[in-house]
Amino acid sequence: MLELHRVSYRYAGYATAVLHDIELTIADGEIVGLVGPNEAGKSTLCLVASGLAPASIGGALSGSLSIDGELMAGRPPHELAERVAIGFQNPDTQLSGVTATVFEEVALGPMNLGLPVAETLARTREALATLGIEDIAERSPNRLSGGQGQLVALASLLAMHPRHVVLDEPTAQLDPEGTRLVGEALRALAATGTALLVTEHKTDLLDGLCQRIIVIDGGRIVLDGPAGDVLADERLPGWGVEPPSRIRLARAMAGRGLDLDLIAGTLR
């Protein structure tokens, strides 16, 4: 379980806080979606939830982050890495730049943990298979498309076997097939008890993937509830979030006096 209790955070060198009084709990096996307009504080919340802010990037944090009941304040980043993983939206900056093959790139984390080679091998293969990218295992990480790079970056996180995963727009550069693969991987990950916090603009991905969705605006949580309720909330566009296509379709049809359920029933 990952818990943020009354968290406010200010970047180093800035006078004002970016996050205010955040109260968030993610249970084991739960997938929580995080949406909001640009500059709302989504990426900052991801950094704070992963412990990297302030452990790695500095800044001032009030409140607490605890993982499985243990306070994380003062822990070094590599210790946090074994408990919570974070993935960013730009695949280029997530690859180490020192490996010659995708396999070695994914294996880098387990190697850094000092695991025996057999364990590293098994974890790497498992992570590649989960995301369906075994076929590019021997390709150079410098010769990947944006989508492939993102899947490799995600596989690199999965190979760490973290119990908590924070993802900041993991499908930003993925095509529909890549997005589907990531969605499946996240579901499989959650089924093993991993807690996930996923920031996404693609609400179609969050719809059906997340049990819960949080809306953040101006550094504050403005809505937190079951995914279906939040995604259907009329205020969502006002927060700069586009509802999923099924809701937009239903609203468009309702606007023309058509009942989607009735049409679906007729088609059946």
Partner: protein, 268 residues
């Protein structure tokens, strides 16, 4: 691990297409350093040329990189060679003047000195170049890590060595983007130079802005954890290579000591 696993991991290691490539990176590095130092310490023409002709050239031919080595060495040596020749020929004091350019006299002594420096430079650049052409940076760094180098230092070394091709790649992308917006990077040298200037800022700045995110991505993969790693593959090392290295080292020590004590005969 199964035999198939071992074979797979060994396939990830850099290819070794010749018997010289198959030498352990540490042996090749020591040979390059010993040849370079010996060429400088022995001095004259015969010593450096003997090292070049009897050690470097046959090894390059054996490795099948002779042409590339010549090309690389010329590119590396030429700028230094030109300045060395100009400075030595025209500023070195001597009694025999060959010709005069303005206030400068070109002397026989200056030409002789420039020649001696040139043969040393050629031996040094080809010895180091041969090492570079037959050894991938990661192979060398992993080998050093196997011998006790810290993983963090190993990463820093590899990242530095790999940074240059990555920056060139980035420069190409930015150049293409600038060209699409009308920047002229073709034609006369002056035009090309003018075309390079707009690239410098974006290449340097984009590299710097990515540093933080790349650092975070590495932290997440337990990069800061102390302790040894189990490497996925190792470079081969024949049983006779360690004794060979000691012999090389001993010969080098003898040459340096002999030169320092004046016991080494003056060779032209």
């Amino acid at each position: 691990m199964s035999e198939a696993d071992v074979a797979f991991l060994q396939r990830l290691a850099p290819p070794t297409p010749s018997s010289y490539h198959r030498l352990n990176p540490f042996t090749k590095a020591l040979a390059a350093v010993a040849e370079s130092i010996a060429a400088f310490v022995i001095g004259g023409y015969v010593g450096p040329l003997a090292i070049f002709g009897l050690a470097v050239l046959p090894a390059a031919a054996m490795a099948g990189v002779l042409r590339r080595l010549v090309r690389v060495s010329v590119v590396l040596t030429l700028p230094i060679a030109i300045s060395v020749v100009l400075i030595s020929v025209f500023t070195r004091a001597g009694s025999t003047v060959l010709f005069t350019v303005g206030p400068f006299d070109a002397t026989v002594e200056g030409v002789d000195f420039a020649g001696q420096v040139l043969v040393r430079l050629i031996t040094l650049s080809t010895a180091i170049g041969l090492f570079g052409l037959t050894t991938e940076p990661r192979a060398f760094v992993f080998d050093l890590e196997r011998r006790g180098l810290s993983p963090q230092l190993a990463f820093a070394a590899t990242a530095t060595l790999e940074a240059i091709p990555a920056m060139l790649e980035r420069a190409k992308v930015i150049q293409a983007a600038q060209r699409a917006r009308g920047l002229d990077t073709e034609g006369r040298i002056a035009d090309r130079l003018r075309g390079v200037l707009p690239l410098v800022g974006p290449v340097v700045l984009s590299s710097l802005t990515e540093v933080e995110e790349r650092t975070l991505a590495l932290e997440v993969r337990a990069f800061g954890r102390r302790g040894r790693r189990h490497l996925l593959w190792t470079m081969p090392e024949a049983t006779w290579e360690a004794p060979l290295r000691w012999v090389l080292l001993a010969v080098l020590v003898v040459i340096v000591a002999a030169r320092l004590t004046g016991a080494w005969p003056a060779i032209p």
